[in-house]
Assembly symmetry: C2
Homo-oligomer: 372 residues x 2
Amino acid sequence: MWPHPVAAAGKVLEEAILKRRPPTVLDVAKRASVSVGTVSNVLSGRVKVSDAKRGLVLRAISDLSYTQNKLAQGLRQKRSPLIGLCVPFTSVSYFAALVDAFEEVASDRGFEIMQVLTRQEPEKELQRVKSMLRYHVGGIMMLPSVAPQRSFDLIAESGTPLVVIDRPTADPRFDQVTFDNYAAMHEAVSRLIALGHRHILFVVRQRLLSVTVDRVRGLEAAIRDSGKQVAVNILECRYDEAAFISRLESELKSGQRRPTAIVVSNSLLTTWTFRALRLFGIRCPDDVSLLSIDEPDWSDLVDPTLSTIRPPTRAIAFTAWDLLMRRMRNEAQQVDRVELRAEVIFRDSIAPPPRRKPARSEASPQRTMARS
Amino acid sequence: MWPHPVAAAGKVLEEAILKRRPPTVLDVAKRASVSVGTVSNVLSGRVKVSDAKRGLVLRAISDLSYTQNKLAQGLRQKRSPLIGLCVPFTSVSYFAALVDAFEEVASDRGFEIMQVLTRQEPEKELQRVKSMLRYHVGGIMMLPSVAPQRSFDLIAESGTPLVVIDRPTADPRFDQVTFDNYAAMHEAVSRLIALGHRHILFVVRQRLLSVTVDRVRGLEAAIRDSGKQVAVNILECRYDEAAFISRLESELKSGQRRPTAIVVSNSLLTTWTFRALRLFGIRCPDDVSLLSIDEPDWSDLVDPTLSTIRPPTRAIAFTAWDLLMRRMRNEAQQVDRVELRAEVIFRDSIAPPPRRKPARSEASPQRTMARS
DNA sequence: AGCGCATATTGAATGGTTTCAATACATCCT
DNA sequence: AGGATGTATTGAAACCATTCAATATGCGCT
């Protein structure tokens, strides 16, 4: 007497169910009466499988509601479809928008994001990079800190594809996607100078950061190109609001080199600056003009509305993704360095400087200071 | 003649180096002349190892600069030290702050974050939950959508510990950490009523969301407790700024039930509302008072400064983490439901309603409407 | 010295997938 | 029919860390 077919099917089910463990390729293979290799081929689609067998396999997969174990897959392939995403914070809106865009495209393409935060500290960065590598991530997107060399070396040594975003690096080993800080800064500062500003304060987080260097170059070029005498002061500050405010105050009250325009490096510092100006009773744009790099989402809500350099966030994310994929598929011909353009948006926070203390008495339009 | 010790050591190195692959426990074990079991015991610290052997092992680890393969570890242990973090977006500051706090505590404790975004859509959520489970994450933090049932079932079935954050659920299977929306809303609305408001508009994203339900309960209770006649309108809207603005406009211009106070459910909608009021030329707080749930970071930068309900973001993250760890270590006695308190911050965007059209002529303080 | 007990150490088996050399099968041509 | 060519399928081996039953070692006591 032959075993009843239904009972037989039941018996195949048994293994996975009785042992209360998720079904494996082996379970699927048994139920579909094929080999594990065939199941794997159906799953990956890399090798042609006859329609008949494919049907059996798909049937078995859905019967058992089998799901791939990505850890085992990653172990075997030595690369998991995890993508490491390394940014300083998520609580800065520009970074958050980047993360958001990356997750969107990653999940659409069947990848997952492993997110690590560096807090802008090279040590922390190194530690976080090591964590990513322990998971054998298939690729890394990284917004590097000031001193990313050791992290870069580790990544290069591991052979993991890396795309550097937002902050250009001299390292010739990696693809990178940035926006043209030089041009954006040149455009913005040229406007300030045209309006008559001759004392500019540039507030930055870290002077050594490559983006900062580019921005300073753009600023200086704009001054040269204008042919005017413009004094520039750079204020570097840690992330500590109280300390920042007091340093800003002393800058703004130093009679001689008192700035009439402030350019701020990121949206967090802009928030603080804006708050500080209120606190000091300094009016914007009457007393001082303000321009922010990294557009905060409240730019058009405040009074005055804020002039900004708006980074092409989503374009950066999508471009970086494409580069990373190309590299993961080994299709990269050479190192790519893409530079996108940022949009400079002039709103009300920029105006001609006040008339008093004219450094060289430029012809700035007459303007009453009162506004009430 | 015995092999020279140095040559022997060199020979041990060979394997990993010649084959150009990262060293494994086996390589470490050979070099330290111990068994793989011992190496594993040193690594995990779960079993006591003599100081002598431990020294040898540590030495070998550093010599070879061995790093654990977390994929293999996860495969064997059936749980990886990856923590799935599931939120709607990162581009809303409240969510971004949560993510930030989670990453901080996770990386301090040697865990990594796998971040997935649900876009508030149950379908997407389910898909993302499946992705997490395929990686056999050790635990999940989730800010659920309106209809999380299937996701919950899947998670429960997989046996993965889950902590539900921010949005209370009736599901009795999972720990949860929320803040007291009822109390916060009660406090805020009581103040509005005390100031004389009798027409309140509540702008929400999704009426069915549990937090919304709680907030509405708090609102209604505040009205009951006040003993006054207060009309409430609820405006539900998708995430589409143009559509939202036009719906808001019709609400604000509907002569009869025209609200004098608006409560908005999250910071993104608050941004839109704020922008819309400007657009319509409706003054705040003169014509209408405004209160935001989820404190945007520009609350004190705009004019008028914004009244808000500030969620205890970091406390939520840390509490949720502790609950999750307890559950991952199987120390949980019962299902925990922690409810933290939110802070209600009254700033300038709240004032008594304008005098015109007194519904029942309450004694609100005389107030000239003109301002500039 | 001999015995028993406690602790440290060992290493084969395990987990789930993919890979790839080997095999089976089908097709076509002469 | 016989042989050659090409494609589909198979299943053992590999990936790497952990587990745990079995063994080895050390210690104390008589």
